[in-house]
Structure formats: C-alpha cells, structure tokens
C-alpha cells in the first residue's frame, strides 16, 4: 500500500472518552435549527434542575433558626425549611425525567447520524456515549447560566457561607454529569444499527423492575428499623419512609398508566368504528408502555393539584376571621399564604415539566414511526385521520387517569376537611383541576401535529 495516505489500523490509539467528547462537541456545533430546539429544551431542563438543587444546597447550608429576608418567614424555621428543601429535591425527579425524554427524542431525530456513526465503526455503546455526552454539553450550558443567575440572586440576599459555596460548586458540576448519566440510562434500550436506528424491544425478564422493587423493600426495611430503634434528630426514618412512599407511588402510577393503556387498546381495537380510533387502539395495544411515564406523571400532578386546591380552600377558610377561633396576625397570614403559593408554584412547575415530557413523547412517537406514517399517507390514509389517531393516543388512556385523579384529589381534600373538624364539606371547585390538566395534555399532544405534516412527506420513504 505504498504511496497511499493510509494509517495502519494497528497503530490507532484506544478509543477514549476525550475523543467521544470531541465528537459530541463537533456534532453539537454542527446542529441545524431543528436540532437546536432540542438542545435548548435540554439546557432549560438542566437550568431548572440546577436552580432547584442550588436552592436546596443554599437551604441545607443554614442550620437552626435563621432570618431569611423573603418568603415571609417560611424559610426561617428549620422544620419548614427542611420541607421546602425536600420539595425542591422532589422536583428534580420530573426534571431529570424530562432530560431523559429529550435524550430519547434526540436519538430518534438523529437516527441517520447515529447510523452513520455505526457505519463508520462506532460500537453501539460508543454511539450511546456520544449521544449522552451531547446531552451533557447542553446540560452544562443550562447549568452554567442557571448557576450564574442563582449565585447573583443569593449574593443579593447576603454572602453565602463556605458550605453554601461548596454546595453550589458541587451542584454546578453534578447536574451536567447527572444529565449525561440520565441520557445514557434513557438510551439503554436504543440500538442504532448501521442501516438506521431501531429501538430495542422491552426485555422479556423484568430484571430492572425487580431490582427497583428489591431496593424499595430494602429501603422500607431500613426506614422501619430506624423508626423501631427510635433514631432521633435529622437522621430519623421519616425522610426515608417518605422517599420510599414516593418511589412506590411513582412505580404504581407507571404500572397503572401502562396497564390501563393496554386494556383500553384491547377493548377499543375490537370495537372501533372509525379508522382513527382503530389506529390509536392498535398503537396502545402494541406498545402500552411508550407513554406510560408521561401519563403517570400527569396522573400524579392531577392528584396533587386537585388535592392541593382542596386543602388550600379549607385552610384559607380556616384562616378567615369569620371562622377562626382567634384572629391571625398579618405575619401569620403571610406565612401561610407564602407556603401555599410556593406549593402551588411547585405543582405548576411539575405540570409544566410533565407537559414538556408529553410533548417530547408525542414527537418521539411520531419520529419513531415516520416511515410507517409516510407509507400510510402515501397509500391514501388522510392526514386528518392520522392526526386524530395521534390525539386519541393521548386522550384515551388519560381519560380514566383523570377520573382517578379527581377521586384521589377529592379524597385528600375530604380527609383534610375532616381533620380541620369544623363540619364544613370539602369544596367541589378543585374537581375542575383534572379537566383543566386533561385539556392541557390534549392540547400539548395537538402541538405536535405540525410535526406530523412534516413526517408524512413521501421523501421519508426514500430512507428505508
């Protein structure tokens, strides 16, 4: 091979994280407008996660009673401060889930790019690593911007302690790393073949679920042991029990969303009288777990939203001088109102992240099936039918979930009204919350319809 500018394969250096990072940077830099919206979404998600984590770190750096010049005293007491901190950390879960969704939609959108990487000799793991590193870079951008603004905000309140600075530095580094890890985990079932991207089917054995269940049982046992042995102070079993309950509730909600989607798909597939319902039902029957996480998040947010609205009304009525045993001071009222406002804000953020996840899921579903959809459109299925089917895929499984959310939320507010003990019934206005959330979810799915128009172009059929 003399005279050729060839490099000997034997002399090629080992594949390194650095070279993959370099490639991820090159690919991100060369992204087009369609790619940048995903990068922006990822950066926004990472920015939110950084903001929440920085807030929690700042609160964790304070001990004992401490005057914080905002939130009307809500953050002054260690007890309520811990509650706010816990809520901030809890909000990280949907945000991280959203980052994972962004990584998955990225993999679908870039199937040709991933295929080209595989064709050029990248291993499946290397392709996933490059895709995860791309997400990590976007997270770094979001995290950096969020850190700068958060630190400026905190400097206005007062100079942070050394412990707070350490916490900020850890968060600023950890969020991009966590973003990359979440992306890698989300892409674990995505296998890019040199001929185009395919999604690996769900494994027959549910090892992951079993491991999660085992971990939850272990956590419960540890928490129970801590409570039984009477461990006191900040390390008592309560946070662990709450965490375990949150994990169990999340798992239960995902299972419920998937199982109900499968049941609805089965029932409707045999009874459908229109093409759109039939397509949607078959899709639900075929892959009921595709949107289970987003739908579970919508269910939980709807329960929390309905319950919160009920509790808020009962609490505010209790604070009303007409009903209160003794009039509350303006400071007390401001304290309670701030607490309620912050909780409402947290639920709204969770709703926004859930809707974002739903939109990304709908777009992913479209992009995954674009060749099939293009073939259907080319063979004469009207685009309106495909659009209706897409909406029904969201609307059908969410309908029973919202009924459940109404019942659950009303249960919470009724329980609180009974606790309040003044004999007034639980308010019914919160029952509107599931309807509003349902409408928001369907509208979010409708927002992906313009993408359908692009998806069903016959040009998609060229890439087979």
């Amino acid at each position: 091979m003399s005279g050729s500018p060839q490099s000997s394969p034997q002399n090629l250096p080992r594949v390194s994280l650095r070279s993959d990072l370099r490639l991820a940077w090159l690919l991100t830099r060369g992204s087009d407008r369609r790619e940048w919206w995903r990068v922006t979404l990822t950066a926004v998600g990472a920015g939110l996660a950084t903001g929440f984590a920085l807030g929690a770190a700042a609160l964790a750096s304070v001990s004992g009673w401490y005057r914080i010049p905002f939130a009307n005293g809500l953050l002054d007491e260690p007890g309520t401060r811990d509650g706010v901190m816990f809520a901030l950390l809890l909000l990280l879960a949907p945000v991280l889930g959203f980052l994972g969704q962004c990584a998955r939609i990225g993999a679908v959108h870039r199937d040709r790019r991933l295929a080209a990487l595989r064709l050029a000799g990248a291993t499946p793991w290397q392709v996933r690593r490059i895709a995860a590193l791309e997400s990590g870079l976007a997270c770094l951008l979001g995290s950096a911007v969020s850190t700068v603004f958060s630190v400026l905000f905190m400097l206005r309140i007062g100079p942070p302690s050394a412990a707070a600075w350490l916490g900020f530095a850890l968060v600023a580094v950890a969020v991009p790393v966590l973003g990359a890890v979440v992306s890698a985990v989300s892409l674990r079932r995505v296998v890019a073949s040199p001929l185009g991207r395919v999604r690996r089917v769900r494994p027959a054995t549910n090892k992951g679920i079993r491991a999660l269940l085992l971990a939850t049982v272990l956590l419960t046992a540890v928490a129970a042991l801590m409570v039984a042995t009477g461990t006191r102070g900040r390390f008592n079993g309560l946070p662990l029990i709450v965490f375990t309950l949150v994990v169990l509730t999340g798992m239960g909600a995902v299972w419920l969303a998937g199982a109900s989607a499968r049941l609805i798909g089965r029932l409707l597939a045999t009874r459908a009288r229109s093409a759109a319902v039939l397509i949607a039902a078959e899709r639900l029957r075929d892959d009921p777990w595709a949107a289970a996480r987003s739908h579970a998040a919508a269910l939980l947010v709807a329960i929390a939203g309905t319950g919160f609205m009920g509790v808020r009304e009962v609490l505010l009525e209790g604070l009303d001088p007409k009903y209160a045993y003794a009039p509350y001071s303006p400071e007390d009222l401001a304290f309670y109102n701030t607490g309620l406002d912050l909780t409402a804000a947290a639920i709204l953020v969770a709703l926004a992240v859930t809707l974002g996840g739903l939109a990304v899921g709908a777009a992913e579903s479209l992009a995954t099936r674009r060749r099939g959809l293009a073939a259907q459109a080319a063979s004469g299925v009207p685009r309106e039918v495909l659009g209706k089917a897409l909406l029904l895929e969201t609307a059908l499984p969410l309908a029973p979930a919202m009924v459940l959310a109404g019942i659950g939320g009303m249960g919470v507010s009724t329980w609180y009204a009974v606790l309040a003990g003044d004999g007034r019934p639980a308010p019914l206005l919160p029952l509107l919350a599931p309807f509003v959330i349902y409408a928001a979810c369907v509208l979010t799915a409708a927002a992906s319809l313009p993408l359908l128009r692009r998806t069903v172009r016959p040009a998609e059929l060229r890439y087979t």
């Binding site: 050729s4 490099s7 250096p13 090159l26 291993t123």
Partner: protein, 232 residues
C-alpha cells in the same frame, strides 16, 4: 488484528448464506469469495438479494444461516463490538447516499472513523485532507453534505471509506444516485485508488457499465449467487 495475507486463500468467504426479512427470504444459500485486491461486481435484478448479501458480508446484518469467514474469524459469530471495530479499521462501506453526517463538514466526515478510534483531531484532519485531495474534493472540505453536489458527496464518502486503510471496500450502488458523468468520475476514482492501495472492492450494481470496472462479476438471482465469468 489478523490481516489475511496469503493470496491463495480468499480474503472473504461466504458459504450458504440464508437471510429472511420477516417471511420473505432474501438470501437462499448464497456463496461467494473475494480475494485480496480483487474488484468483484455483484449484479442482479432489483429484489434479488444483492444488498442483503453485502450487509451480511460487511457484518452489518447477521445472516440466519451459513457462514462468513474473514481472516480466520467467523463474522456471523462475532460480537457487535468486534464487528464495529472491523468496520472502523478493516472495512469501508459506501452506499448510494445518506452515509455522511449532515452536521459535519466534509473534512470531519472523512476524519470520523479516525476520531472514533481516538486519533487526535489535527492528525485525523490532516489524513482526511490528504484523502479529499486524492479524490479531487479538497476544496469542498469545509462544506457540509447538503452544500455539495451528489458526485462530490459520493467522492467524500469514498474518502471516508478508505481513510483507515481498509482491506475491503463494500460499495452498494455507489453511482446509483448520480448522472453518468459523475458516476464515471466516482468509479474511476474508486477503481484507481483500490488498484493503487491493493484494496479489495465488493461492488453491488445493476448497471452493466459500472460492473465493467470489475475484475470479475457474479450475479445474484433469487437469493443465490450465479458466476458470470471474467468481465474485463
């Protein structure tokens, strides 16, 4: 890395390959040999199984039955990681279109296999530049695939397929999306470079003019290989 050097044994040998796409059989006992430095054209009508055969031979798709031997290794039994390594170092693949990454410039596209292998970017780009020069598209190095003509993009694809010094280039209808002049330029560049570097080429085509560039031609009919004799 075991480089097959004995020219008496085939560089790549497929025996009785079978492969089905769902219920549709694409290959029904196809056998084929490729020798060191040989340019072999595989022709046949549409749907005869040519592309599936190439995918099996390049380790892109695993056959349902039969064997593919390369340098003492059974490609049909190798793990995905080793197959990827082979595609990165020993094989080059060129399709009709679509294998270039739209986000990367022509220079970075050609440098890609070297970057994937961990070569420093400057070194990889220098090597890529040499190959672009060779294929007469050095001036297009900073363009992205969407900004190039089909012929230019295909020459960039050839440069990428050859940049790591592969033993075999698999080309699936490399001129299928080009006009006759551009197709001729691409084929001349491929054959000239393959002869110079001793690289074997497995060329899938349904175009007799393209097949005429090969040392030998075989035909695929109904998923099986039929010898055609010497074409040149």
């Amino acid at each position: 890395m075991n480089h097959p050097t004995d020219t008496s044994v085939p560089l790549l040998a497929a025996r009785d390959l079978t492969k089905s796409h769902g219920r549709t059989p694409a290959l029904r006992g196809a056998s084929l040999e490729l020798r060191e430095g040989e340019i072999l054209a595989v022709t046949g009508p549409s749907g005869s199984g040519k592309s599936t055969l190439l995918h099996c031979l390049a380790g892109i798709v695993r056959p349902d039955g039969g064997s593919v031997a390369y340098g003492g290794e059974r490609l049909d039994r190798l793990p995905e990681k080793r197959l990827s390594e082979l595609r990165r170092t020993e094989f080059g693949v060129v399709f009709q279109f679509g294998q270039l990454i739209p986000e990367l410039t022509a220079l970075d596209n050609v440098a890609l296999p070297l970057l994937l292998a961990g070569t420093a970017r400057g070194q990889a780009q220098a090597k890529a530049g040499e190959w672009l020069e060779r294929f007469g598209v050095r001036g297009q190095g900073e363009l992205r695939p969407g900004e190039m003509s089909g012929g230019q993009a295909q020459r960039v694809s050839l440069a990428r397929a050859l940049v790591t010094g592969p033993r075999i280039v698999f080309a699936d209808e490399p001129t299928g999306a080009l006009d006759s002049l551009a197709g001729e330029q691409v084929m001349s560049a491929l054959v000239h470079t393959a002869r110079e570097t001793g690289t074997a080429v497995l060329l899938i085509t349904h175009d007799a003019q393209v097949a005429a560039y090969a040392d030998r031609e075989v035909q695929v009919r109904d998923g099986a290989v039929v010898p055609q004799g010497v074409a040149v």
